[in-house]
Subunit: 280 residues, 2 copies
């Protein structure tokens, strides 16, 4: 493999615009769909073991957890990563949160209020389908807040993520990067498939008019909020199998870095076995 | 197959004691572990499609959801059903809730307060690892509430589940049935496996002294709270592969009974395709 997936996909200093990164599958990693599927299968098995160790540590007082943040344009595959990668984990240890447009009640609070409530507990894998980044993405593009407010939010996000990191939450932020034409193909495919019509929102086409603005907003977010402790990864996502492999690889490396082991338990095994002896 | 899984495993009138039901794999269903695994694989694929339809309906205003309630003695496999069956679903559409001993705050509310908050939203599959039934099981065995209070709770549970059913939540209650010796084998296996030590609680052995009392409490709960609309199923769970097959089969039949289809969407497809034409 050579370089790690994390170092391959992490946002590079001074290179923060989506157009600076490939949306198509690059040369690193599996060569095609069938190799990608085989690799993913192996990664899923390893992820399941790592998650069980994380969960076990959580029951033993270890505060650590992992939070996977998924962002991307419509059709970029946030749901696909959920069904193809996150499903490797035991659902008992997964906390999934999807963030839509804020409710009136949520709007009466600071923008991180609803987010903080969904941070995974010790031992859990949290998954955010969209996140606090919407407040510097769609909010910026659609001018839902003043520039000065948006500007302030980058700092608030960095402080928030620094606090999470300090208290044991490893934040893994993946931008699922597809290009303009790939989105067109996917929307057309949805229109041609009655089992996909429910996914279609005409607003998705409206948003395409603002594609360059969204790209600029991502460039700003990736530039301001990719830190050493909680970096952004840009995932080439035109090919679903490549996207899945890349996210799973980054997750596995993140887990392995935590050097998890099953917790040691102070029990008198011999006595316990005697207690379990069958009745005479 | 002949009889449906639901009619095979549903609690029979006047037969509510766990000892009235097999814990070992009966003759219905797959014959052995490898046949069970093959059947489960097919069931998982079908469950994934059904769940996507349920989720899609939820986005289109259909209020329906499914709630899988898992109860059973320690080691009976609630976590195993989660990892082997529930993992078939896209995590984006799963709401998993685990109920431990109530917190001081929860104890200041009625026993259904913390439960109601975890009921799945429209389109979701909810999973309860333990549930409101703990309040008539451990609470009865350990005399955490007066007999008259326990007695009253059966009615409150029936009313609660009737309301859920009426508002679109299909409740599927599975009692994972293992026998006393199987639990002993599983606890011994945990003691012999360092990767399982974290699961072990000495209290599990203490609870074994109360096994007959727990069986009686289950008999009362199954007798009082297995209704036509939200019946209890007794799952033979000594064999994990059989347990997984049975729960998956019941879930699939439940889904199929809902006669889900992808929602029809009122869109002008031709116009939308024109809007998606590439720029000249």
């Amino acid at each position: 493999m050579g370089r790690s997936a994390r170092s391959t996909f992490v946002v590079q200093p001074g290179k923060t615009h989506p157009r600076d990164y490939p949306a198509d599958a690059p040369s690193k990693g599996p060569d095609d769909k069938s190799e990608g599927a085989a690799d993913l299968s192996g990664l899923r098995s390893k992820l399941a073991v790592q998650q069980e160790m994380l969960y076990a540590c959580g029951t033993a007082g270890d505060p650590r957890s992992i939070l996977l943040v998924l962002q991307g344009m419509d059709t970029s595959g946030k749901g696909g990563v959920s069904s193809d990668v996150v499903s490797a984990f035991n659902p008992a240890g997964v906390h999934f949160a999807s963030f839509k447009a804020p409710t009136p009640k949520e709007l009466k609070h600071d923008f991180l209020w609803r987010i903080h409530k969904q941070v995974p507990a010790a031992g859990q894998v949290g998954v955010f389908d969209r996140s606090h980044y919407e407040d510097v993405l769609v909010a910026k593009v659609r001018k839902l807040a003043a520039d000065s407010v948006i500007e302030e939010r980058y700092s608030r996000i960095n402080d928030f993520e620094a606090e999470l990191t300090a208290t044991g939450v490893t934040v893994v932020k993946c931008f699922l990067h597809i290009d303009f034409n790939e989105q067109r193909q996917r929307l057309l495919a949805w229109l041609d498939d009655p089992t996909k019509h429910w996914k279609f929102r005409e607003g998705d086409i409206d948003d395409r008019q603002l594609w360059p603005d969204f790209e600029d907003a991502y460039a700003a977010a990736l530039g301001r909020c990719s830190t050493a402790q909680s970096p952004w990864y840009v995932i080439p996502s035109n090919k679903k199998w490549y996207r899945n492999w890349a996210v799973a690889s980054i997750m596995l490396e993140t887990f392995e870095d935590m050097k998890l082991t099953y917790p040691e338990v102070d029990l008198d095994f011999q006595r316990l076995k005697e207690r379990l002896a069958p009745p005479n």
